[in-house]
């Protein structure tokens, strides 16, 4: 039965608890069909990277099981390693070597030799437009070039499954668009299975056929980007109020109106959901005005993944990111103390 589904990744209840009791992953199951692009979306610190570390055999799960390309990650780590390519969040290229040397060493580790290795190296350098820079030391590369080299290294042995952990973090918009184009091509042309983690909603929307939203070590919702957005029934109406003092009154008022399906407060910004946003706005503005609540700006948008995130985790993506940032800073100061 399972073989018929041809799952590239089949993870069941993966848990990772680090020494000191940090529960990075609290039971994550994933089933990724071969040949598809799957996105793990979540803020920093949600546990995405830890899932990738377990699936790529870098980190042993505390409990749970998983197979990647048909091999058990704990019992057959070397078979998994040969079948996968991995581009970690931290680059991993050797900056004291040239791009070509990096690629050739990576290929040799996987047993490529001679002509095959040379051809594969030349092809990847060409694909990622690194041919001109191939014989320069990597420390002279830009961030975008390094990232491309990273991905090229992950592909040198023609893996069945490619793991990309935050592939475009830190890239400028131009480099990011170029990377997306490359990844799309890889998925479409080669039928490569890709598992990508990202904290960019747009990236998940652009690249992934299916995605799972991860929050605090658990998957909160899974589906295609369109399914997830369709589930929200309606448009997002964002009203920015002129004064903080009015915020709670405004929220209660909107909450009592029948056209509004859901409302949340974020500072002095009210995020409401309405079946037809554009036609609901005049009524909302009228009601707020009558109550003496001044609105500074209003926007209506089709549902975005940010809204999906808000709905399933009860906080906006940017809040979650800030929270993760705070936790990290606290960790650091705890270590320093």
């Amino acid at each position: 039965m399972h073989a018929a589904l041809n799952l590239a990744v089949d993870a069941r209840e993966l848990v990772k608890t680090y020494k000191g009791g940090v529960e990075a992953v609290r039971g994550i199951s994933l089933r990724i069909p071969a040949g598809s692009v799957f996105g793990l979306l979540g803020p920093n610190g949600a546990g995405k990277s830890t899932v990738v570390k377990m699936l790529t055999t870098l980190s042993a799960p505390t409990s749970g099981t998983a197979t990647v390309a048909g091999h058990d990650i704990v019992r057959e780590p070397n078979a998994v390693r040969r079948a996968i390519g991995c581009v970690a969040q931290e680059s991993g290229v050797d900056v004291q070597a040239t791009g070509r040397e990096n690629l050739m060493l990576q290929g040799r580790i996987y047993g490529l030799r001679g002509r095959e290795l040379n051809l594969q190296t030349i092809e990847l350098l060409d694909r990622f437009t690194l041919t001109e820079a191939a014989d320069r030391l990597v420390k002279t590369y830009s961030g975008g070039m390094k990232r491309k080299l990273d991905v090229a290294m992950g592909l040198i042995h023609q893996p069945q499954v490619l793991f990309l952990d935050e592939p475009t973090t830190g890239l400028d918009p131009e480099a990011r668009a170029e990377m997306w184009e490359q990844l799309r091509e890889l998925a479409w042309d080669r039928g490569l299975t890709i598992l990508l983690t990202t904290h960019y909603l747009e990236e998940a929307d652009q690249l992934a056929q299916r995605l799972a939203i991860v929050d605090r070590g658990r998957i909160v919702i899974e589906g295609s980007p369109d399914e997830l957005k369709a589930e929200l029934h309606g448009d997002a109406v964002t009203l920015e109020l002129a004064a903080d003092a009015d915020a709670e009154r405004g929220r209660d008022l909107l909450g009592s109106m029948t056209v509004v399906e859901q409302v949340a407060l974020d500072g002095r910004v009210l995020r409401a959901r309405a079946a037809d946003g554009a036609s609901a706005v005049p009524g909302l503005l009228g009601a707020l005005d009558a109550a003496g609540v001044t609105v500074a700006a209003v926007t209506v948008a089709r549902p975005s993944l940010d809204d999906v995130y808000l709905r399933h985790t009860g906080r906006s993506f940017s809040e979650a990111e800030e929270e993760a940032g705070r936790a990290k800073r606290q960790d650091r100061s705890a270590v320093a103390a």
Partner: protein, 258 residues
């Protein structure tokens, strides 16, 4: 077999990186030369002290000690290179590949061994120019190279292990200053055994730096005591095994922490 092949690839990688950092090469070569001449001049006349023994001039006595000192500090800093790889994610990239785990350490140790040999040859040649006189130069130098490499392998393994566990540059700097430097001076490196205080002589008996000197320098002195040389090479070999085991444990502990 695969482990050997992978070790060869890693050796190439580290050797290229070594050659490409001319400042580093210059530093590792120039510094011992400075020690050789500074100490050589400073303590030139200690051999005239009654009881110094050995029957050689000071440069002859000193040059092997500088070889050992260079091996000690060169390998003590070894952790820095693995730390750089750790911080850049290079180690983790290798760990998700089927590369032989041992090759990640072995490749580094080999390149460090090559650096130790190059340094040693240069120091001995300059020592000879400055008046060092060895009777069984070739055989003695070979024994010194073996001893210095055993010490470098052991200390290098410890330094890599420390880098993997502590993951801080400060720890490596601290160990270099607070452990390696005292070890160097709690030995017969610069002063004959007969003239150093009794307590240092007692400590030196358990000091691997002194074992290296006893074996390596012993082989270059007139009338070498081969029994003692062989025994001290044996102690060093055991020390290498112990450090290798510690380093392996550190590697495992690192893998558990990710």
């Amino acid at each position: 077999m695969l482990a050997l092949t992978h070790t060869w690839y890693m050796t190439q990688r580290h050797f290229r990186a070594f050659v490409r950092q001319p400042m580093y090469v210059a530093f590792t070569l120039v510094q011992p030369v400075i020690w050789l001449f500074l100490f050589g001049q400073l303590f030139k006349r200690v051999t005239e002290l009654p009881g110094f023994g050995e029957g050689v001039n000071y440069v002859t006595y000193l040059a092997p000690a500088i070889v050992v000192m260079s091996a000690l500090f060169g390998s003590g800093w070894g952790g820095m290179s693995i730390l750089e790889d750790l911080n850049r994610g290079v180690i983790d990239r290798f760990l998700v590949s089927p590369v032989s785990r041992g090759s990640l350490i072995a490749g580094r140790l080999i390149v460090q061994g090559v650096a130790t040999i190059i340094q040693a040859v240069i120091i001995l040649l300059l020592g000879a120019l400055a008046g060092a006189d060895y009777r069984q130069a070739v055989l003695g130098a070979l024994v010194l190279l073996v001893a210095a490499n055993l010490l470098a392998t052991a200390i290098g393994s410890l330094s890599y292990g420390l880098a993997l566990v502590a993951r801080k540059e400060e720890s490596i700097i601290a160990v270099s200053n607070f452990v390696l430097l005292p070890l160097q001076f709690l030995s017969t490196g610069f002063m004959a055994a007969a003239l150093i205080p009794g307590w240092i002589r007692s400590v030196a008996a358990y000091n691997p730096v002194n074992w290296t000197l006893t074996a390596g320098r012993g082989a270059l002195m007139p009338n070498p005591d081969w029994g003692s040389i062989g025994a001290h090479l044996g102690y060093l070999a055991l020390f290498v095994i112990a450090c290798g085991l510690l380093s392996t444990r550190a590697f495992r502990s690192y893998q558990r922490s990710i």
